[in-house]
């Protein structure tokens, strides 16, 4: 058998068609008006600055159109979805969402898509900013360990989503393969002081929200559109605490907001702010004085606003269970002098009772899922931290400092340290009415929490072990005792 002959028979490589920018050849008549973006000539070439979220490359709208080289690497890698929850993300540029690409109208983009050799799967990219078949997807299909190059001219200004479109598309997107590409208009967007990149996505894990360990993707939940996590920038807490985005009083802030989906539409809202301008759906139309803007899956919006007063402004998907139960919560921390005219400080901004104003008691039947049982105090504290960041954090804050006049502190709390059974009871059954903590009066509502005895023991032990509290260890037996005594 002569296998040299065989070579010739078998070499029938898959023809990968080159993207045809047919609009270029489509207009050959007469003098073109200067406003025809397909006729913008380019000068020189440069390599695009790419940034990981929440950062955005520097504005470039005031430069001339150019040949812009984009180098994008695809990485399949394990990362953190939430405290203690791991997930294998498929990424453009190593982050979810992928690197932010900034272009201006008329740029001719030479796109290099590189699939890391360690990756298992072929991928491609569909950029919504591309005019051409598949948005580039049919030209960019690339095997692991290989690189493809294709080119396109950006002719429509706006903020566009890009994503992987390899079968099964839903799974590639659900694993994090999306990002934003901005096409600035001639002359650029109006100047602002701060720009940030935020992208929402929904995730479908085998385990329920909060189930620890490495979680597999659950195809059926994806098909059913039953998300376990809805998050900004690829993980719970990507934009909270130390990761919060920041601004100073008096500054203008622009958010480039996208929604990768794959399924859910976002009701994007910043608690305590009103968007001065919204580029609706990322296009030219500007709406003013908007409270909540709808961002479709595979769509975007550009919002900007001036921050007038200091504080922590909570960024949410106002489909609000997602925010308080699935993770779509971010923070904008504004520092500077107060402005009592705009905001008195005595009234309470952003108290939000999604469950209504009264205590709710969820049926405590046997459906409580047991979490793995920590043995040592250290493990109990670690497990408790996870519960805290899921359940308590939004009101009582990262360091247990609470929110003045609204939610009492847990740090150095006399009320907490005085009576552990009372603390257990409050977590079990909720609390309303006036309490005095560290000399200050609070009159608010805490709802009953549907946590297992183990989880309550863990989270209270975590709280007692931190922030100057008395290091009391709470055991599941102690919780069970209170639960049984108070059963109703």
């Amino acid at each position: 058998m002569n296998f040299l002959c065989k070579y010739n028979k078998i070499v029938t490589p898959i023809a990968i068609s080159v993207a045809l920018l047919f609009f270029v050849s489509g207009c050959k008549s007469t003098e073109q008006q200067e406003s025809d973006p397909t006729k913008i000539t380019i000068e020189g070439e440069m390599t695009a600055e790419l940034t990981a979220p929440p950062l955005v490359p520097k504005p470039i709208g005031d430069r001339k159109a150019t040949k812009l080289i984009v180098n994008m690497e695809i990485l399949e890698k394990e990362g953190e979805m939430a405290e203690g929850v791991r997930y294998v993300f498929w990424t453009f540029g190593g982050t979810v969402p992928g690197s932010f690409i900034r272009t201006r109208v008329g740029d001719e983009v030479e796109f290099h898509l590189k699939n890391h050799p360690d990756n298992k799967l072929p991928h491609n990219i569909d950029l919504h900013a591309v005019t051409g078949q598949g948005g580039g997807a049919s030209s960019s299909f690339v095997a692991p360990g290989h690189e493809v190059t294709f080119s396109f001219k950006v002719i429509n200004p706006g903020l566009y989503v890009y994503h992987c479109a390899t079968a099964p598309v839903g799974m590639h997107i659900a694993n994090g393969m999306y990002g934003l590409i901005l096409v600035e208009p001639e002359g650029g967007l109006p100047k602002v002081d701060k720009e940030y990149y935020i992208m929402q996505g929904d995730f479908y894990t085998k385990g329920k929200n909060g189930a620890p360990g490495l979680q597999a993707f659950d195809m059926q939940k994806g098909v059913d559109e039953h998300a376990e996590y809805v998050v900004f920038n690829g993980k719970v807490d990507a934009l909270t605490g130390d990761n919060a985005i920041t601004a100073k009083v008096g500054e203008t802030v622009r958010l480039f907001v996208g929604n990768g989906g794959p399924n859910l539409v976002s009701s994007f809202h910043v608690i305590g702010e009103i968007f001065d301008n919204v580029h609706v759906e990322g296009g030219d139309m500007v709406n003013k004085n908007v409270q909540t803007t709808l961002i479709p899956a595979g769509g975007s919006a550009i919002v900007d606003f001036k921050v007038e007063v200091p504080g922590t402004f909570i960024i949410v998907d106002h489909s609000i269970f997602r925010t308080f139960n699935k993770g779509s919560l971010g923070m904008l921390k504004v520092t500077g002098d107060e402005n009592k005219t705009i905001y008195s400080g005595k009234q309470i901004e952003g108290i939000y009772h999604p469950e209504g104003g009264t205590i709710q008691s969820m049926p405590n039947d046997d459906k409580v899922v047991a979490s793995p049982k920590p043995v040592s105090l250290k493990e109990r504290i670690a497990a408790g931290k996870t519960v805290y960041s899921k359940t308590c954090f939004a009101c009582h804050q990262a360091a247990g400092e609470g929110v003045p006049n609204a939610f009492p502190p847990l740090a150095k709390s006399d009320y907490l340290n005085e009576n552990v059974d009372r603390a257990i009871d409050i977590v079990l059954h909720g609390k309303s009415g006036e309490v005095t903590v560290n000399g200050k009066k609070y009159n608010s509502v805490m709802t009953a929490q549907t946590l297992s005895d183990d989880e309550i023991a863990n989270v209270l032990t975590y709280v007692y072990s931190n922030w100057g509290n008395n290091n009391k260890e709470v055991t599941p037996a102690m919780v069970a005792k209170v639960r049984n005594k108070q059963a109703h």
């Binding site: 040299l4 078998i10 050799p117 298992k120 799967l121 997807a137």
Partner: protein, 264 residues
């Protein structure tokens, strides 16, 4: 005369250079003839497969090392670029030495289709066709066709998300119905006709080729998961070319079994 002579010479040299260092029968499993409907193929009809035998394990680094020692033209430094791209044996320290982190009993990867094809021929074997490979690979431990089982598909999907499995040793996944290991869960594998099912990777475009598969399956519940697990394999095959050498892509060989020979 002249062409025939040189052809004979090539044949002779080719045969001479292909040293078969191993007795193979005990390393192969007999696969009984049968028929099945593939998930995705040139046509949606039933495919018939004849009796054949298949390597129980993918070809290992050790076996491939032996091959390149005996067949110098398939060494990293000697191989023709037409037959193997720049990633060919990219992790090897040199022509006949693995990198210190690699294990002899891991599957060989970063080999092109041409190299894999030559290897099999030197063993008196050949690469399996997609039909043959898929036929054996639809088995789980107990059933010849487990494709409708959730657990079977979940196993495959989980592997897609498990990083760096190419560094694992052979034989650590399950032994399937036919006695074959590692068809799922270790590395992708070359097929003789890997590029006969065209997928551009743009699944929405591909959908016009086979509306039954894509549009229909969108409304089906039961087979979706099964399709997803298999699509990705076909998508992978669609992304490669015969001279590609890929980190997660290895191979194994098969051999025809004379039709008279009855299987157990």
């Amino acid at each position: 005369m002249k062409p025939i002579l040189s052809l004979s010479l090539v044949l002779f040299i080719g045969f001479y250079l292909c040293t078969n260092a191993y007795g193979q029968t005990q390393t192969m499993a007999l696969i009984e003839a049968g028929s099945y409907t593939p998930i995705y193929g040139r046509d949606a009809t039933i495919v018939k497969v004849k009796n054949f035998s298949m390597d129980i394990y993918p070809v290992t680094n050790q076996q491939y090392l032996q091959f390149v020692k005996e067949n110098t033209k398939w060494r990293k430094s000697k191989v023709k670029k037409l037959f193997a791209d720049g990633n060919y044996l990219t992790n090897w320290k040199n022509d006949t030495t693995l990198n210190s982190k690699m294990q002899m009993q891991s599957p060989v990867t970063n080999v092109s289709w041409f190299a894999a094809n030559a290897y099999c021929q030197c063993q008196g074997k050949r690469l399996p066709t997609i039909d043959e490979w898929e036929y054996v690979a639809m088995a789980n431990q107990k059933m010849a066709d487990a494709r409708r089982l959730k657990s079977y598909n979940q196993y495959i999907l989980n592997w897609y998300e498990a990083p760096k499995t190419y560094a694992n040793l052979i034989g650590q996944t399950f032994k399937n119905y036919w006695g074959v290991y590692d068809l799922h869960g270790l590395v992708w594998e070359w097929n003789a006709d890997f590029n006969s099912v065209l997928m551009s990777g743009e699944s929405r475009k591909d959908s016009s080729n086979d509306p039954n598969l894509f549009c229909g399956s969108g409304s089906l519940g039961a087979t979706d998961l099964m399709n997803y697990a298999a699509f990705m394999r076909y998508a992978f095959r669609g992304s490669i070319k015969a001279n590609y050498s890929v980190q997660n892509l290895g191979f194994r060989c098969v051999k025809d079994v004379p039709s008279k020979q009855r299987v157990l």
